[in-house]
Symmetry: C2
Subunit: 587 residues, 2 copies
């Protein structure tokens, strides 16, 4: 009788071989029985493996790893409700375009819908939130099955990258036994040798099914001369244009092309904190204080543009989004995404931003003439705001502004910063300024959830990019499992402890009598004992000097959580004071 | 201009009014902005509200509450990835038939698919895992909208109960503003008064759309005389029949009817630990030591039945399932479920088990004559095993057997016990015995996940049923957020700490070289500091005397976690020793 355990192992091995050919190097796995053939095959392939008990934390960890490494990362779990825990991270990966390979083990078809243990319907489990779903059925010994599974692995790896990167779900049923007998041998590959990666068609060709991803090559094919667009058309709308760069990714050559284009067209470039353009060479040409500027209504009115070229998603700043509502916008965005919540985009160009900029520089179609003094006016306001905000902060009591400025000044060149949603990202937006030293700032800004921040941070660090975290207290409490993963992190996780969801202090809910109980929802426990229980170091910081010291001492120490207490009421006053200063000072 | 905040509030209020008419009394909610109208409406209705930060924990809490209270429980969260966290509990509710009302706030259609913040596609978000999905669209002021939403609420509450209880998903988009202005008043209901609950058609009628659920009335209509079944047919298969009661629920009158039927037919009744039949009046007639019995192959062979009547799901015991494979089985199960993983059911009767038993007693169609001595043989073996296992355990070193027997002896009459999956439920199965004092034993045995146990336990306790937890260490680590909810629990959570997933020590994976790293996955942290960080009391217990003392002292103390250390290697030896004793002793 055939050794079904061996048949399972060979199938799993073939599938993983294809995934590895497609670029997968890491597997984040949660324990279970049904997934055994895949775990054994992963060991045989010498994949880098990260066992994480809680599948939710595992998937966010994989998300961070995939976003930092920019290649497919596998997530593996057993059958049943286990894969349900992946859903939040799958949604974020879907929205933010992270290449996750979701490998769920399953029971075979004859057990599904018959009340068998740990058996649920896993078919199309993540609905529209994955790029593709495949279920190859239980492994058997038919001819060509190994070839098929290798091809499926390559294909899944390609489909999670490509034009619309995102998660791909492979549901993998196995019949028992799950452990192979002692005589089981992996058969040699039946495949012809693969075309070496170096000679694959590059990503400008139509055949770029398996794009090679490196630091300076965009994963998106450029549509090139097919664009029926004369940028001069924008000029018809007026001579005051703006480039708005929302959350997104730029290659080195891409951002260089952007800055060249902006200079040639004399256009101000508004840089979102997650645009990748605030921190690094050329960033001093960007406008980064618009969220402060727009608190001054007359100035905001005077600088309103006639049109916008937008790269990346809708920006973080609600003020900026509101201000740009109604302004005709040319959206440059790869893939199927259409980031236009205000419905102001008459034309979307489906292209990589960097390649679009390079093309716009070389085409004759680009004779936009900005108003005399338009760019200069923006730059002047930006510089005044820079001084004004620094002066104001120097006299204000300790708040997130000091924290953000200190952090941006201190973080080593080329490292990462993961910023949580809600208040932290908005504080970063307002206060970060810019710097010439590169810094990779990330946020889970696809679905903008409170969730998975600590686990994502650990995933970034596992990729080899040292990444510091900036979280709120509720974010941390929401991802307690993530604390288990922070232990090995070479960079600290900074937690702004201001007593719950203080974003609601800035929203209309602030006047509701049950604000504390149903919106702020503070957790009445101390971070100190919690971090100790998880084997983390807990440092408390009360001002800028202590923060600098803590960041310096944390270099190279694993598992440090830096708690920064902020008095939320005082912070609200500081921010209200800034508005008054802005409105009373003609910048 | 109309106050959209007020329109939203009125719509939310009408929907909740319908849900309340349908039996919903509790709302478990996680903080967010978009869900504000529903939170305000719930306050106006004076619903019992449980704010829980982590949506995953919130949903499991609601699951426990719904299962204990046997009425619809609402779960509420904001838009985006938030509702993704519900998925594991939704799956369990789907599989185990718990009436959850999933209320997800959403952005309006004009923002979906346009890159708006915290906006994802929430349509049919839980796929086939909910009973129904509705999206009534953003609230407006059209005539009849309040009536429609009240009707929708009543309908959802009915659909989550009924023949196939389970989760129902209401996706609820709201336009801004979310907080009503100061002049907003809730309009009086336009509805005619509801038919009072007491006069609703009872659940025997075909119109039982809104079943009244109390302690002694089954929620399932009985199909009665439509059954074209002559129970005598079973007699054709042989004279050795068996009643097998898997995990399920019995009403008081239902279980009384079962015991009467079993006595009349002279059939042994095998009672799963989750059947509800091991603990309470009549339970001493049941067979509960089959998992031990089946470790003795010759005896197992000799007692093999000719046919089985099964109530409830497939039993927990793998030995029992294997042993019954191939035996023709009459399955009595309400709703669409078909619990037959071994495909041995030629006939399923869609009926409430208790009503089936009552019917079988009154019909002439039931002249089954069991073999002389068949039932007596079973009872004799059961009694011998009872003595033998007690004797064996009295001389064995401390293990789960002592723990389970002490626990079952100590728990107050009428209280609850929630037992986690994997090893704890199997240990309970093997060692629990039975008792005449009632005890409600529960398990999340629908999808049998490791997940959400602490949160579910807190939900049971919140229902007013004092419920003790029996978890493994990994279960607890998997649901760290649940520790936040345990603080208010009036009954302790017992944690068997045996160093990770020891179920794998009993499976074929036990010989794999990477057993520890990829399967057992122990968490190398201490429970003591962890529980202290969460404000829980941590008591350690090393033997039966200490356990009795701890259980006594824990009565009325909130937030107690009792850690019971078990030496996994020693425990394995004890269990192997039991098999040897069983096989060498002719019972």
């Amino acid at each position: 009788m055939a050794d079904q355990g061996c048949i399972n192992l060979r199938a799993a091995h073939a599938l993983l071989a294809g995934l590895i050919q497609g670029g997968m190097r890491d597997l984040v796995l949660s324990p279970g029985s049904r997934s055994t053939p895949l775990v054994l095959a992963a060991q045989a392939h010498d994949l880098r493996m990260f066992p994480i008990l809680d599948e939710r934390s595992a998937a966010f960890f994989a998300l961070g790893l995939a976003r930092a490494a920019r290649r497919p990362v596998g997530v593996l779990c057993t059958s049943g409700s286990a894969l349900g825990h992946w859903y939040p991270a799958v949604i974020e990966a879907d929205c933010s375009g992270a290449p996750l390979i979701l490998l769920s083990a399953d029971r075979p078809p004859e057990l599904r819908h018959w009340g068998a243990n740990q058996t649920i319907d896993q078919t199309r489990f993540f609905g529209v939130h994955v790029r593709a779903f495949y279920d190859p059925g239980p492994p058997d010994e038919l001819p060509g099955v190994g070839k098929y599974l290798r091809a499926l692995g390559r294909r899944a790896a390609a489909e999670c990258q490509g034009l619309d990167p995102g998660p791909v779900h492979l549901n993998l049923p196995f019949r028992e036994s799950l452990v192979p007998g002692p005589d089981c041998r992996l058969s040699p590959s039946e495949d012809p040798p693969l075309i070496p990666a170096a000679t694959w068609p590059n990503d400008e060709g139509a055949q770029a099914q398996y794009p090679r991803i490196d630091q300076d090559v965009s994963p998106y094919p450029f549509i090139g001369d097919d664009i029926h667009l004369n940028l001069g058309d924008l000029g018809q709308l007026g001579r005051r244009g703006l480039i708005c760069c929302g959350p997104g990714e730029w290659t080195k050559s891409g951002s260089a092309a952007l800055w060249r284009l902006a200079e040639r067209l004399r256009l101000p470039v508004l840089c979102d904190p997650l645009s990748g353009l605030r921190f690094g060479p050329g960033s001093d040409a960007g406008i980064v204080r618009y969220d402060a500027l727009l608190r001054y209504p007359e100035l905001a009115q005077g600088l309103k543009p006639d049109w916008v070229i937008r790269f990346g998603r809708a920006p973080v700043s609600k003020r900026l989004n509101d201000w740009l509502t109604g302004v005709p916008t040319l959206l440059v965005e790869p893939g199927r995404r259409f980031s236009d919540p205000t419905h102001d985009v008459p034309l979307k160009i489906q292209a990589d931003p960097g390649r679009f900029c390079a093309w716009a520089m070389t085409t004759d179609a680009c004779p936009i003439q900005a108003d005399e003094g338009w760019l200069e006016g923006w730059n002047e306001v930006e510089q005044r705001l820079e001084r004004l905000m620094a002066d104001y902060l120097s006299q204000a009591p300790w708040c997130e502004g000091h924290l953000v400025r200190t952090l941006i000044a201190c973080l080593p060149a080329g490292e990462g910063l993961l910023c949580a949603n809600s208040l932290p990202i908005r504080q970063l937006d307002l206060w970060s300024g810019s710097r010439r030293l590169p810094l990779h700032v990330f946020g889970n800004r696809g679905a903008s959830g409170i969730d998975g921040q600590a686990s994502t941070l650990a995933g970034f660090n596992a990729s080899g990019l040292p990444t510091t975290g900036l979280l709120g207290d509720l974010s941390l409490w929401h991802d307690l499992s993530g604390l288990l993963q922070l232990r090995g992190c070479p960079r600290p996780c900074i937690v702004i402890n201001n007593g719950g969801g203080r974003i609601f202090d800035t929203l209309p809910q602030r006047n509701l009598p049950s604000l504390e109980r149903f919106w702020r929802c503070p957790i009445p426990l101390a971070l100190g004992p919690l971090t100790q229980a998880f084997g983390l170091s807990h440092w408390e910081v009360a001002d800028g000097t202590e923060l600098v010291q803590a960041l310096t001492e944390a270099q190279g120490v694993q598992g440090v959580l830096i708690e920064v207490r902020v008095d939320a009421e005082l912070s609200l006053e500081v921010h209200r004071g800034l508005e008054k200063v802005l409105q009373s000072t003609h910048p």
